[in-house]
Amino acid sequence: MKTYNTDVTIIGGGAAGLAAAIEVNKGGKEVLILERGIELGGILMQCIHNGFGIKEFNKELTGPEYAQKFINEVNQLNIPYKLDTIVIEITLDKKIYAVNKIEGLIEINSKTIILAMGCRERTRGAINVPGFRPAGIFTAGQAQRFVNIEGYLPGKNIVILGSGDIGMIMARRLTWEGCNVKAVVEIQPYVSGLLRNEIQCLEDYGIPLITNYSLTKIHGKNRVKGVTISKVDRNFDRIIGSDQFIECDTLLLSVGLIPENELTRIAGAEISSMGGPIVDNNLETTLEGVFACGNVLQVHDLVDLVTAESKRAGRNAIEYINKRYKKKLKGIEKIHLSAGHNINYVKPDNICLGEILGEIIINFRVKNPDRRIQINIKDETNKTLYKKKKSYVIPSEMIELKINLNNMELNPKCNGLIVEVIPQLEPLIE
């Protein structure tokens, strides 16, 4: 068995892993990327539409173009990577075991690990759609792979369940291929992906968007023959008599993404209820020296945000090696950050006191859309330490706050902060 030693091992060679690897290399540390696919770039390689890189490169790139910029840099910097390599175990002392066809089993000893495994799609089973189980049911991302990488069409007459970004992008992509996208069906009263995709992928092509409807039956024993959709009430219960049959041969599902944390679990890091690992403001998981970034931590709307977050993880990994590696750690005092009113989740989960260099980045998503709102950060005594007004919030937008705890009047005994989104208080008129 071959053994490797390195400063940082990065698991995953997609957008997050590549950005983190480059950052680590530039900081003068050794890094090794492990990628399970047969090429670097991850899911970006099948996202051949444009719209990537507006923040990072100030121009619109396609997914493969965006990835290639990073792949080129990885190659220029001679950063080592292994393809078609799957990690099977991470031990508590940060030993990684992986396999590939060429080397067999390999062991990697590293001072730190960055988890960058990305996310996967929610399936039909996860939302328990009833009906038959015929051929012709795809997750939107799988259909995207079949079309853009393999070069095949999943069907001709298509219904898309869920209005996630990949679903809307595939609605347009398949329309371009001469398919008939009959409808995008969304259970919520609003689109769950980005507004720009709703306009550019659905409205521009006259693809009907049916909101407040859920899928109540898949028809066809061998191949999909159609779907029954039903209007739902506020509790998402089916309204009797509202059933509608749509004939189709293919159903795509775009019903959400889940951070892929099987390895994180194997490693022994704690996972938050929303799926990603619990991290502090350094993006360090509950395992010392193990960091997480990109969609494995939280599902991002834009790859530029993944890149920025992953660079931070890379820098923090260097910081860890320089300062804390192999030092006896004293228990670091942490403040827990929790989700308050109308907040779906908030990252990081904890803020380390005593290590705060200044600015802290907080990300969150709201549960429900709202207008004229105020974002508050409060301590346990209900004292507001930070507030910001915003004209609207929607669940599809990941909101980023940059706060500086040094500027806040933080009670030294405080051990918890709450982030909330509440309606703006109307000024009192006397």
């Binding site: 089973g125 051929a135 012709g136 069409l153």
Partner: protein
């Protein structure tokens, strides 16, 4: 095959019953073949049931299925040693919430012990129950513990049976739906949509279709109606169940159970709904709700958010309510029909009974000299130690390429599934043999790669790969095909 070839025995139906009979008969010097309507064996009721090997206390004494179940349970110990399929005796609990239910359980226990299920025990100490199964509801006041009950992977067992039968020269023909049976001069001629087969004896194990097959020979003394059971399956390692958990039974059903699978998943189900359409394996909103609500009564902390699939299976309910295992009025034609629960448990005992009938029919049962009762255990990536793994990959590099991430299934295991005896020819065939695509992403990642391997191995175009046989192709055209064809069509019209 030549049309002059006459088999000693033709088995119709490649479910667990047909395959266990094929396997029981393969040790004799007989020419046997099995015909299956679907593209693969084990794809009917066999693949969509609870996989519980019952202790045998449940059926009423007047039914033959009671004794067959009790005997069948015992036969599993020997079978698993020879066939190496996933099976574990973990024990079951029938739970009671009310005093009347305890009384009923005590009655069941007494009768069970009288009939030879000696280890049945009524447990009333709540602490002990909780210790044995911590997930059980606090409202439970007692359980009937049956240590001999177990879980089996029903389709993997059926593949094992069929593979062993094939090793001992039983022939398997798939995608052969029987459309006509004639008999004259004590020879049966079976016509399928593709071929014609001749045999001296026929064993009808066609499950839901067994009444239809029987009627082809004018034997219409029973009917089969489908009774649907819906299930919800949960991801591996989201709940650790130690016991199979049944509610106290009613007259028509053992009720909705909460049960672990051999591979570490858990499931809830089945409900029981009599339907008319023999093909209707669809799940329903109401049914899934009923299943989850029923299951939550027994296990309140069911990991609802970790559901990965729902499915339904159909029980073949006979008009007689008991198993129909008969030598019929047509000499040489045996019906093995209406095998609903506990059919899976009884399968080995049913096969024994069929052998008895064949003896009555004067079929000569001479044991082959080269009979090999052993089917080796399929090798699994996840069963290897690190050292073994390294060695395996160096011997054959396809062990080092993981295709299914969720279940950690290597390319080699998929190749074995395709190349082995009665190999997989479809995506579902691969999935049920080696679990590729059975995990939490439900083949989201691995399907294109499984298709690639199937296409390569079967020398078929990528587009010809199907989910489960005819009319279940995954893909319909290459990109640009639809557009270009449209343009050509317009050109022609001009």
């Amino acid at each position: 095959m030549s049309s002059s070839e006459i088999y000693d025995i033709i088995i119709i139906g490649g479910g667990v019953i047909g395959c266990s009979i094929a396997r029981a008969l393969c040790k004799y010097e007989l020419k046997i073949c099995l015909l299956e309507k679907e593209a693969d064996i084990a794809m009917g009721t066999t693949k969509a049931n609870s996989g519980v090997v019952h202790a045998g206390y449940a059926a009423e004494r007047k039914f033959t299925k009671r004794n067959l179940c009790i005997r069948g349970n015992k036969l599993y110990s020997e079978a698993v040693k020879e066939l190496n399929f996933p099976f574990k005796r973990m024990g079951s609990f029938v739970v009671a919430f009310k005093v009347e239910e305890i009384k009923l359980l005590e009655e069941i226990r007494k009768r069970g012990i009288e009939d030879g299920i000696l280890d049945l025990e009524l447990i009333l100490e709540k602490q002990r129950i909780k210790r044995m199964e911590p997930n059980i509801s606090d409202d439970i006041i007692g359980v009937l513990h049956a240590p001999s009950a177990g879980i089996v992977s029903p389709y993997e067992m059926t593949f094992a049976l069929a593979q062993n039968a094939a090793m001992n020269s039983v022939k398997f023909f798939r995608s052969q739906e029987v459309i006509k049976i004639d008999h004259s001069d004590y020879i049966f001629t079976i016509t399928t949509q593709r071929n014609e087969f001749k045999s001296l004896n026929v064993i009808n194990c066609a499950g839901l279709y067994s009444a239809k097959i029987s009627k082809m020979l004018g034997l219409d003394y029973f009917d089969i109606t489908p009774r649907k059971g819906e299930y919800v399956l949960f991801d591996r390692n989201t709940i650790q169940l130690n016991k199979i958990l049944f509610p106290t039974p009613t007259k028509i059903s053992k009720g909705i159970l909460v049960c672990p699978t051999f591979h570490g998943n858990a499931f809830a189900g089945p409900n029981a709904q009599n339907i008319t359409d023999i093909e209707d394996t669809s799940t329903t909103t109401a049914g899934l709700k009923e299943v989850l609500e029923g299951a939550k009564k027994i296990v309140p902390n069911l990991p609802l958010r970790a559901s990965i699939r729902n499915f339904a299976g159909l029980r073949a309910v006979p008009s007689t309510y008991d198993f129909i295992i008969d030598n019929t009025d047509i000499y040489g034609f045996i019906n093995v029909a209406g095998i609903l629960s506990p059919g899976l448990t009884s399968s080995y005992a049913i096969a024994e009974k069929v052998i008895d009938f064949l003896e009555l029919l004067g079929v000569e049962l001479k044991v082959k000299e080269d009979y090999n009762p052993y089917r080796p255990k399929p090798e699994r990536f996840t069963d290897f130690s690190k050292k073994e793994l390294d060695k395996k990959i160096k011997e054959d590099s396809s062990w080092g390429r993981i295709i299914c991430r969720c279940e950690t299934i290597s390319e080699k295991e998929i190749l074995n599934a395709i190349q082995g005896p009665i190999g997989a020819t479809t995506i579902d065939g691969v999935k049920f043999r080696c679990r590729a695509g059975m995990g939490r992403c439900q083949s989201g990642f691995c399907r294109p790669r499984v298709m690639e391997i199937l296409s390569r191995e079967m020398k078929l175009p990528y587009q010809a790969i199907t989910k489960k046989g005819d009319d279940t192709n995954i893909l319909i055209a290459k990109t640009k095909d639809l557009l270009l064809k449209e343009i050509i069509k317009k050109e022609i019209q001009k």
